[in-house]
């Protein structure tokens, strides 16, 4: 990596000030994406603002919502009794991220702020209509996760909490890359009293909702309802690991598996 300055502020206000003081400053939470980027000399920040001991790791339930502090490690979510009881699909998703080393360091806030098109959390955020709270304001996940590695975050803005709407039931199914473990395609299916939401990660440049699959499942929440339903490959990612057509097929298949996990048939 290149030589860089490092700061560990004690408060969020201090962190924001540091970010404002230097336009090439970058904040760091678990560092599970950014540290490898630095090691490969693919980024040259002038200042690293370490948030890892600063952000809340609290997990709480109130009024039909599950709120998780942005500093919660994947392992915190995976093992949280509260998450396991109220939103077990999210605990399972967290347990599928990376490997134990990554889960011990990586944070939910970092993952959503990075918005990797193949990351797991964005699918849960979109399917569970999450509210993302930052040092400046609140966003709906659908707005916040705006594009490939893009969010609505300003350079001096930090995610502090994520609030998920608790569904009747939900499941996540992921087809992981043999190399990286990231989703080649992953589907988070959430069933609410009056709605069904299906969010697909990995397949496109940014997490998206599969409208046709949602419509079919609203009519009949069953694997059979998805028979013959497809996702349009146009606009999906194509690379040496998987082309758009294959990703589209995998996204439908992962949706079926998630529904199957819920219905058990």
């Amino acid at each position: 990596m290149y030589e860089t300055a490092y700061a560990r502020p004690r408060t969020l206000e201090e962190a924001v000030e540091l970010l404002q003081s230097d336009e090439d400053a970058k904040c760091l939470a678990g560092g599970m994406t950014y540290v490898p980027t630095l090691k490969q000399r693919l980024a040259m920040p002038s200042l690293l603002v370490d948030l890892s001991r600063l952000l809340s790791r609290d997990i709480a339930v109130a009024d039909g919502f599950l709120t998780i502090g942005a500093g919660a490690r994947h392992v915190d979510v995976q093992r949280s009794q509260i998450v396991r009881e109220t939103l077990p699909a999210l605990a399972e998703l967290a347990g599928l991220i990376g490997d134990p080393m990554v889960r011990n360091r990586g944070t939910i806030g970092g993952s959503l702020s990075n918005n990797d098109p193949a990351a797991d959390y964005p699918s849960a955020a979109l399917a569970l209509d999450a509210q993302i709270t930052t040092t400046k304001q609140q966003y709906a996940a659908a707005d916040f996760l705006s594009g490939m590695f893009e969010t609505l975050l300003d350079d001096d803005e930090i995610v502090t909490h994520v609030r998920f709407k608790i569904p009747v039931c939900a499941a996540y199914s992921k087809f992981a890359s043999k190399a990286s473990g990231y989703a080649v395609a992953g589907a988070f299916v959430a069933r609410f009293d009056d709605d069904v939401r299906v969010a697909i990660t990995g397949a496109g440049p940014c997490v998206f909702r599969a409208d046709q699959l949602e419509e079919a499942l609203k009519g009949d929440f069953n694997v059979w309802a998805l028979k013959g339903k497809t996702i349009e490959p146009e606009g999906l990612l194509s690379d040496m690991h998987a082309d758009a057509e294959y990703r589209a097929a995998l996204a439908v298949e992962m949706t079926k598996r998630a529904v199957h996990q819920i219905t058990g048939a």
């Binding site: 290149y2 030589e3 490969q40 087809f175 043999k178 190399a179 040496m240 082309d243 097929a249 079926k256």
Partner: protein, 678 residues
């Protein structure tokens, strides 16, 4: 202690500036900015090392055109990642920062493949045999290019001694004595000025059997600047510039009569080599041809192999080194022959394997198959898996619409030829020191050699210490490669111990030292048969290997645990080739798989249930009777898995698949087969 852990005195660190163009002419190389950077001691380019000699290349094939060996590129760049300049910095970070300040303008040039070496073995009857055959089957196998990826990357540390003007070199290598002799030859200095130590080596797999241009530069720089110098490759540099394995394309045709008797084999092997060749640069293309037609009797043969230079990364031996390629071609051809003739694949193999009574057998390609009972490997395998029950179960699963396959891979594994040394000393206090010219990279060689000596001298194993991989303390030797160390190095230890015993009996006083240079009578040929059971998911193409059953005859076994470890490790790497590993370049010759984010290595969870069975037929070729086993798994597993995958999709009409068997490629094969039908 690994090489990177060696504490040097105020060493210089090397960072290489590498070509980002595969083929081109250097029009400008601007080093001034780098030289002025903080902490930079020197920047070197091709001109500084133009007079150095070349690495020797083992001429197992007749060489037509040998690409030049350049420590730093001269006027021409011939391979992606080739070092064009080197920066020596007081710290690794300063060297890396300054390397980015070197401006290299390289004008891309068109390049075409160059034939480096070629050989044909033919008894001129193949066309005749094919003409009278009832069936002729053919196939082409393009092996993926693989990154050997030992956990420890390349690393070298040179300590300069001003008093003697000598260097001590710690090198992560399989062949410390070769490092010394090659360095002496390339640098044009006396070998006695170089001491080479291979400390703990974190895996090698053939990738560390030779010197690299980067290694030569480090030692040259230490002597030039009269300072300690070190370099450890990054993982990215390993993907780009360490030797790759496989990448071979083999095409074959097998002619047989209606009763299944093999009549003739025609094979064409093409092996890629890079901008420069390591010592064993031609071994892979040679093995991929000369191990044909494996353990089968085939009257008419026409086998050609070529080593062809291209401008991708360098290639070299990688665990198996041509053996998987030869066996894979044969085993695929046999499964295709079984499919067209309607003969059971096991039966067809058994019918054509060279019988035990016909061994030793001289092959057209110049080998002597030494000993064993090849068909017995199949018999033991069929009994171990209950083959008839397995077939019945497959029929049942297929009736339910499942895609399940059974694949068999018989294999031969020739192990190295030649000599190795041992120096055994029996001290007055009863302790024994075994020094060997061979080396160890986690094989457990120290245990095996101590066991051999303990048995031969009839003393407790705790009395024995083993010395390896230090040219100042061990006799000159070859090193650990070609699955040769136990068979040849172990035999040398045995012979030295026998000499001590007879000198003791002649009442010689202690200490007694026996120096032995043991040469084997010829290659020992391990062999075996593997069976893979796989299932493939119709909707995702995902392949699961349910179970692999192995039968290996590795000759006399010194230590069963170590043999099992070799089989398991080799099998994991064979599974990697079969299912996921592949180096990929784009159309412009740029490397796409530059990290483990894109290059898939098997993890522990990818390894299926493995059953290992073995029996022992001693080899008459060495004193121990041992055969090689280091490469067994990498040879047997890909052939068995590939055959099983094709077998799984056979009901859909699929006849050929290409490794790695990724889920996407299988999904596509299933889809096109199903669309073709509808």
């Amino acid at each position: 202690m690994f090489t990177d852990d060696v504490k040097l005195t105020n060493p210089l660190h090397v960072a290489f500036v590498r070509s980002q163009i595969a083929s081109g002419e250097i029009v400008e190389l601007e080093t001034e900015d780098a030289l002025e950077a903080e902490g930079v001691a020197a920047v070197h380019t091709g001109a500084d090392v133009a007079d150095l000699g070349s690495l020797s290349v083992n001429p197992v094939l007749p060489i037509k055109h040998l690409p030049p060996f350049s420590v730093l590129a001269q006027a021409t760049v011939r391979g992606l990642g080739q070092p064009v300049a080197a920066v020596l910095g007081e710290t690794a970070l300063q060297a890396a920062d300054a390397a980015e300040l070197v401006y290299a303008e390289i004008e891309p040039t068109e390049s075409s493949p160059i034939l480096v070496a070629e050989k044909n073995w033919s008894n001129a009857q193949y066309e005749e045999a094919a003409a009278k055959a009832d069936h002729v089957v053919s196939c082409t196998i393009q092996h993926p290019r693989l990154a050997p990826s030992p956990m420890e990357p390349r690393s070298i540390a040179a300590a300069y001694d001003a008093e003697t003007d000598c260097v001590t070199v710690w090198h992560s290598t399989q062949t410390p004595h070769r490092t010394r002799s090659e360095l002496a030859a390339i640098l044009g200095i006396e070998a006695k000025r170089i001491r080479v130590i291979a400390p703990h080596v974190g895996g090698a797999f053939g990738m560390k059997a030779s010197l690299y241009p980067e290694d030569v530069f480090v030692v040259w720089a230490a002597l030039k600047h009269k300072r300690d110098v070190k370099w450890t490759a990054t993982r990215s540099e390993e993907f780009l510039s360490a030797t790759h394995g496989r990448g071979i394309k083999s095409e074959g045709e097998l002619a047989l009569s209606s009763d299944g008797t093999f009549l003739g084999l025609k094979a064409m092997v093409e092996g890629p080599v890079g901008a420069w060749l390591p010592n064993s640069g031609l071994i892979t293309a040679w093995n991929a041809a000369r191990v044909l037609p494996s353990g089968y009797a085939v009257p008419a043969q026409d086998i050609t192999t070529q080593a062809v230079m291209n401008n991708l990364g360098p290639t070299g031996i990688y665990r198996g080194a041509g053996r998987p390629e030869a066996n894979c071609l044969m085993e695929r051809l046999i499964d295709k022959a079984a499919a067209v003739s309607g003969i059971d694949p096991v039966e067809l193999r058994r019918k054509n394997l060279i019988p035990a009574t016909a061994l030793p057998h001289n092959t057209l390609t110049g080998n002597t198959l030494d000993s064993g009972d090849y068909a017995k490997a199949l018999d033991v395998l069929c009994e171990a898996v209950d083959y008839p029950a397995l077939l019945a179960e497959q029929t049942r699963c297929r009736a339910e619409g499942q895609l399940v396959g059974i694949g068999i891979g018989f294999y031969l594994e020739p192990s190295g030829n030649g000599w190795e040394t041992a120096r055994v000393t029996l001290n007055e206090d009863g302790s024994v020191v075994v020094a060997s010219g061979s080396s160890s990279q986690g094989h457990g060689r120290e245990t095996a050699f101590a066991q051999i000596a303990a048995d031969a001298l009839n003393i407790d194993i705790d009395q024995i210490s083993v010395l390896l991989a230090d040219t100042a303390k061990t006799p000159e030797g070859i090193g650990a490669l070609a699955s040769r160390s136990t068979a040849i190095g172990g035999s040398a230890v045995l012979k030295a111990c026998e000499e001590i015993t007879s000198r003791l009996e002649a009442s010689e006083a202690l200490p007694i030292t026996a120096d032995v240079r043991y040469e084997n009578k010829g290659q020992a040929w391990g062999y075996g048969a593997y069976l893979a059971q796989v299932s493939i998911c119709r909707s995702t193409g995902e392949l699961s290997v349910e179970r692999i059953t192995c039968v290996d005859d590795t000759g006399t076994i010194v230590n069963p645990k170590l043999v099992e470890g070799q089989i398991l490790g080799g099998l994991a790497q064979g599974l990697g080739e079969a299912l996921m590993e592949s180096i990929v370049y784009d159309e412009d010759g740029q490397l796409l798989t530059g990290s483990f984010m894109d290059y898939a290595m098997p993890r522990a969870a990818d390894i299926p249930t493995i059953d290992i069975h073995k029996f022992e037929t001693p080899s008459p070729m060495n004193a121990l009777g041992a055969k090689g086993v280091g490469e067994a798994g990498t040879i047997g597993a890909p052939a068995a898995i590939l055959n099983a995958a094709v077998d799984a999709l056979r009901p859909l009409g699929v006849t050929d698949l290409t490794m790695p068997l990724t889920s996407q490629s299988l999904w596509r094969a299933i889809r096109s087969a199903e669309q073709g039908k509808s």
